[in-house]
């Protein structure tokens, strides 16, 4: 069983480490290589230098211990919402009745009930994104690698799914590497935020987020600590985009 410590070292510069059960967000200018970093951890791409390790073991290709939520959803167009959601369970040999129950749980969580028999083609972008989330959560990988998973959603839905994700992360003790361009989202969700430099992206800074999360969203987002951290990340990121413009 994977505990879920992700180490990324010496890919040009040390990227860092996500501890077992940690929620780590990654922010950086567009095109800096955030998705590429995620694909390296997923084992889809091989680093030209350096290593990616899970629990200290260098990875060897993709594995069911890591689940990616793709930026462009990457749903199977020939499978229905339910068929997409059960794919990982099918491959794991989970019996059909169980598969359906698990899929239904996540379909409901993603507010997609009634759409089980629809094909991705028939859904809106935001709905596809939620199917993609359901699909990855359903087969229960220890490490979630999420590439702007809430980018296509409106605010109420995004906030509700953020809280669902936090529940899942806490209850199931998953390691989450979460890419976003939304600084507020990064700070709200994560324990640490990795800020990347502009292309070709390296680690610029790692910011600790120290919030009292016992009180609920409103108390958190209105707290001084939240605002302070958010501003610090924002400034750091802003520096990158500005030096980026000056260089050009």
């Amino acid at each position: 069983m994977t505990d879920g410590r992700v180490t990324v070292s010496n890919l040009k510069k040390v990227y860092g480490e996500a501890d077992e059960g940690e929620f780590l967000s990654v922010v950086g200018p567009s095109g800096c290589g955030k998705s590429t970093l995620l694909y390296l951890i997923a084992g889809f791409l091989d680093p030209t230098s350096g290593t990616v390790a899970v629990d200290g073991e260098p990875i060897d290709g993709p594995g069911t211990d890591r689940g990616v939520v793709f930026q462009d959803y990457a749903l199977f167009p020939w499978r229905t919402v339910e068929g997409n959601t059960t794919y990982g369970l099918e491959e794991a040999g989970v019996p059909e009745s169980e598969r359906e129950a698990i899929a239904e749980r996540y379909i409901e969580m993603m507010d997609l009930d009634g759409f089980e028999e629809k094909y991705p083609e028939e859904l809106s972008g935001g709905m596809r994104q939620r199917v993609s989330l359901a699909r990855t959560l359903a087969y229960d990988p220890a490490i979630l690698l999420m590439d702007e998973p809430f980018g296509a959603l409106d605010r109420p839905l995004r906030e509700s799914l953020q809280d669902h994700l936090l529940d899942i992360w806490r209850d199931l003790e998953k390691t989450v590497v979460f890419i976003t361009h939304d600084v507020e989202e990064a700070v709200y969700l994560s324990e640490r935020v990795l800020i990347m430099t502009r292309h070709p992206g390296t680690k610029k800074a790692m910011t600790e987020v120290d919030l009292d999360r016992s009180k609920g969203r409103e108390a958190i987002v209105t707290s001084d600590a939240f605002t302070r951290t958010k501003n610090a990340v924002w400034r750091s990121l802003r520096e990158e985009t500005e030096t980026g413009t000056e260089a050009r």
Binding site: P62, T64, V68, F76, E91, P120, R135
Partner: protein, 264 residues
């Protein structure tokens, strides 16, 4: 829902007339050709060589009424089915294999490019030499003629499969080989279908050409024997019958695909 099929038509005709109008437009060329044929027969070309459509219609009626056409048509259809079916099986495997494996691609690429311009019906004498007159020779010609459209469509599409789809399956535990079957083939289905759709008329062309010389049965043989006896109404009747059957085969396949492939 975002992509619901809302009919956006710029057709100036009112709705009730649209369907009949489409049918008229669809069948108009055939009507024109038949009319020209009727006019030419007996005026431009000797009626004995080019019998009028009415005479041919009578001959078609005879062919059907006597049941003569049935065994020939059955043999021909079985040959098309076997030839086309095996070309789909081999073609999809070959196309997908070429797209996903460099050695397989290198091995077949030059071969396919070189055999592409060869008219497959030019191989009929060779097929007779190797396989004798009969089903084996005709089926192999149909197979060869259909293979290329199937391979090329599958090959191009399988090479273009979104890498994220392949990665999705890999992360959910599908092995590198199995991905071909679980992802690459289904993702390629729309183009495979296009290839088969293109191959159906080609199959009938190859079939008739091969049966003209390489068979003692089948519609192609019927055409040739009627021609040799100078029974031109019967010859044209056989040609019309096989054309109609080919048309029905294409339409049937299109309808089947609409039904079976719900996701495109």
């Amino acid at each position: 829902m975002a992509n619901a099929d809302v009919p956006l038509s710029t057709d100036p005709l009112p709705g009730v007339l649209r369907a009949p109008a489409a049918i008229v437009v669809q069948w108009l060329p055939l009507g024109v050709v038949t009319a020209l044929w009727e006019l030419a027969s007996g005026r431009v070309v000797d009626r004995a060589v080019l019998p009028s459509p009415v005479t041919v219609a009578g001959a078609i009626g005879d062919l059907i009424a006597t049941g003569e056409v049935v065994p020939h048509l059955t043999v021909s259809l079985i040959r098309v089915a076997i030839g086309l079916g095996s070309s789909v099986a081999v073609g999809v495997a070959l196309g997908v294999g070429m797209a996903r494996s460099k050695p397989v691609e290198d091995f077949f690429d030059a071969f396919l490019t070189m055999t592409y311009p060869v008219p497959k019906t030019a191989l009929v004498p060779l097929a007779i030499l190797g396989l004798g007159v009969g089903t084996e020779a005709t089926v192999s010609i149909v197979f060869l003629a259909c293979l290329l459209p199937v391979v090329l469509n599958a090959y191009n599409a399988a090479g273009d499969v979104d890498r994220n789809l392949v990665w999705s399956a890999r992360m959910m535990g599908t092995g590198e080989r199995r991905v071909l079957w679980k992802v690459v083939v289904p993702a390629t289905v729309p183009e495979i279908v296009t290839g088969i759709r293109q191959a159906i008329p080609i199959a009938f062309v190859a079939l008739v050409s091969a049966e003209l010389v390489a068979s003692n049965r089948g519609i192609g043989h019927l055409i040739l024997s009627a021609g040799q006896l100078g029974n031109y109404p019967r010859m044209f009747a056989a040609i019309v019958v096989i054309s109609a059957v080919a048309y029905v085969a294409v339409r049937w396949f299109e309808l089947l695909c609409d039904r079976v492939i719900a996701w495109t």
